[in-house]
């Protein structure tokens, strides 16, 4: 994988500008080679391909929801409540007569937004704190004790406590889950920084008189990206699950927003007689989280071949 990536740009630079010479190129660099590289990657890491395919599909649903949905997901129709799945109502209707199919489609937006926002925010904040902690010994002790403290609070309970103090909104759900996830990212980044600091090339950079910010930017940061990306996918998966759990127990997104957790919360009282109200959002949520986890596992194997054999 590394060879195909690193040779491609050099060959592109060598490639002559003139159109007359370009015709000869296939002899030197058959275009099949790169294609084989990509299919080879898919073949070697099928989990990445499957995970990405499902995620792209979900993203497509989330973006084109207004076109795909059959009705307004919040419109009430008490006369048509708790209809079984049929041609008219593909996933049935809930206790208020709302179309579950349309609601589930809209729910994909909430889950994806929460998952991605938390993954990005927690990664950035964790990266910043982790870098500071790994580089400045004086603050390291205090920061790590604080992180230990936050990590000692079970994440869902921490999110519940924060949600109890704020108004229910998607932004606050993102904030609450981010606070709970930051310590894990911080610990990871700090660990990577501490091990990199001992590397000879970092010593060399220091000896050459490179300024600390430059060392962080050029030598440390690029090496944290691989483990961070993997961690970010797990944070994303966990955030989607926590959002659903929070909404399900009534401490998440406001009930009027059709999130998967909220749809399932609406179906809670009727689950014994109308299980499909919970079933459809449950399938969408599980498949989406599964896709993110598969992507994460695949990335971990691809980015760190030594770990691939172990987990």
């Amino acid at each position: 994988m590394t060879t195909s990536v690193s040779t491609a740009p050099t060959l592109a630079m060598v490639r002559p500008e003139g159109p007359a010479l370009a015709a000869d190129l296939p002899d030197i660099l058959p275009p099949v080679k790169t294609r084989r590289g990509v299919t080879g990657l898919v073949w070697r890491y099928p989990t990445i391909a499957i995970g990405l395919a499902i995620l792209v599909f979900m993203l497509f649903i989330a973006i084109f929801t207004p076109l795909l949905a059959t009705t307004d997901p919040t419109s009430l129709a008490p006369a048509k409540r708790t209809r079984e799945p049929s041609m008219e109502y593909w996933f049935g209707t809930d206790a208020f007569g709302r179309d579950i199919y349309s609601r589930v489609l809209y729910g994909s937006r909430v889950s994806l937004i929460v998952g991605f926002s938390v993954a990005v925010l927690a990664s950035l904040i964790g990266l910043a704190i982790g870098l500071v902690s790994g580089f400045i010994r004086a603050i390291d002790g205090i920061l790590m004790r604080i992180m230990d403290g936050i990590m000692s609070i079970p994440p869902i309970l921490l999110a519940i406590a924060l949600m109890a103090l704020t108004r229910a909104s998607v932004e606050n759900v993102v904030m609450a889950i981010t606070i709970a996830e930051v310590p894990r990212v911080t610990r990871l980044v700090r660990g990577v920084v501490l091990s990199l600091r001992e590397q000879p090339y970092v010593d060399a950079a220091v000896a050459a008189g490179t300024h600390t910010p430059m060392i962080i930017l050029r030598h440390i940061l690029p090496n944290t990206l691989a483990p961070m990306t993997v961690q970010a996918t797990y944070v994303c998966a966990s955030a989607m699950i926590v959002e659903a759990i929070l909404s399900f127990i009534g401490a998440g997104t406001p009930p009027i927003i059709p999130s998967w957790g909220n749809i399932m919360a609406d179906g809670r009282t009727l689950w014994q007689v109308k299980p499909y109200i919970i079933l459809f959002p449950a399938i969408f949520l599980s498949v989406t989280v599964l896709a993110v986890n598969l992507l994460g596992d695949g990335l971990r194997d691809a980015l760190d071949p030594r770990m691939a054999k172990r987990l």
Binding site: I153, I156, L157, I160, A164, L165, G250, A282, N293, D297
Partner: protein, 313 residues
């Protein structure tokens, strides 16, 4: 040995202090005005003021925190805003179902996941290994309440093997107690099993490639003894660590599982507290669970010294 134990026990005190400080600070970290949020949209300004006073938000942070810490040290977690009862009393009433659920889940999860992980490592690369690992990925992907509803629907509603919902105190007999906890424990333990099975497989793979395993094989030790006596013993430390870390998952999951299976435990108490915006109660429950988690991990650290005599500080 005693010195190590003492140091390790004392080391948990600062962690607990930071946990307490952080849980307390949530009132101040949360964006917006917590008093107004807790009072609700229909509250009058006087009500908001009353709640602000009862939460102590009208006084300086440090004064309030010192007062509150002294209270917590004396074992007083405050008073529930809704019922007017002490938080510790409310927690005590709901303790048994939750502890029962967690103990059954722990036994079940370790009992299933450790052998599954060992066999997966032993049969690495075969369909058994793939099956166990596929279940593990599924365990990380399906939220606990969905597993709960699925199990309840299939095994209680359709097959009628086990009770659908509810809880029977252990005082009314062991079987009725256990019967009600089997499905919730499987649901709650699903992620936990995934976690343990993965780490067991990973460490076992490492241990099985060691020289002493080859020596054991060459001197004719049976495969079962190699796996479960020689190898598992040496893989124990990472597994036990993950069991300790996973307790956080159990605590978080219990809140949801109890709601699905109508178990009148601390999880239900938490959900009732959320619905009623009873913040002192939520705060007390979060603090109690976090302290429990810290103590569980202290116990795990002490178990290390039994598992691996080389661990000494």
């Amino acid at each position: 040995m005693f010195g190590y134990l003492l140091r390790r026990v004392l080391a948990t005190i600062p962690v607990m202090a930071i946990v307490a400080l952080f849980v307390f600070s949530l009132l101040y970290i949360a964006p917006g005005d917590p008093a107004a949020v807790i009072a609700g949209d229909q509250a009058s300004p006087e009500d908001v003021e009353k709640i602000r006073r009862s939460l102590g938000l009208d006084r300086p942070f440090l004064v309030r925190f010192t007062e509150w810490s002294l209270q917590v040290i004396r074992g007083d977690l405050g008073t529930s805003m809704f019922t007017g009862l002490p938080v510790t009393e409310l927690i005590r009433q709901r303790l048994e179902p939750t502890v029962s659920l967690m103990v059954v889940t722990l036994f079940l999860a370790i009992g299933v996941a450790v052998p599954a992980g060992v066999i997966a490592a032993w049969q690495a690369g075969t369909w058994i290994d793939r099956l166990v690992m596929a279940f593990a990925v599924l365990g990380f992907s399906v939220p606990v309440f969905i597993v709960g509803y699925l199990l309840a629907y299939v095994f209680a509603l359709q097959l009628d093997w086990l009770p659908v919902q509810g809880y029977t105190p252990i005082a009314s007999g062991f079987w009725p107690w256990l019967e009600n906890l089997i499905l919730p424990a499987i649901a709650l333990g699903f992620v936990f099993m995934a976690l343990i099975a993965r780490i067991t497989r990973a460490t076992m793979l490492e241990v099985l490639s060691q020289d002493y395993v080859r020596t054991a094989r060459s001197k004719g030790v049976s495969e079962g003894n190699i796996l479960f006596l020689h190898a598992l013993k040496n893989a124990a430390v990472p597994i036990v660590t993950v069991v300790g870390i996973g307790v956080a998952l159990l605590i978080g999951g219990a809140v949801v599982t109890e709601s699905v299976f109508a178990i009148p435990g601390l999880g239900r108490l938490t959900i009732d507290a959320i619905v009623r915006r009873d913040y002192p109660l939520i705060q007390g429950i979060v603090l109690m669970f976090s302290f429990t988690y810290v103590l569980v991990n202290l116990a795990i650290d002490l178990i290390y010294t039994l598992l691996d005599p080389r661990i000494r500080y």
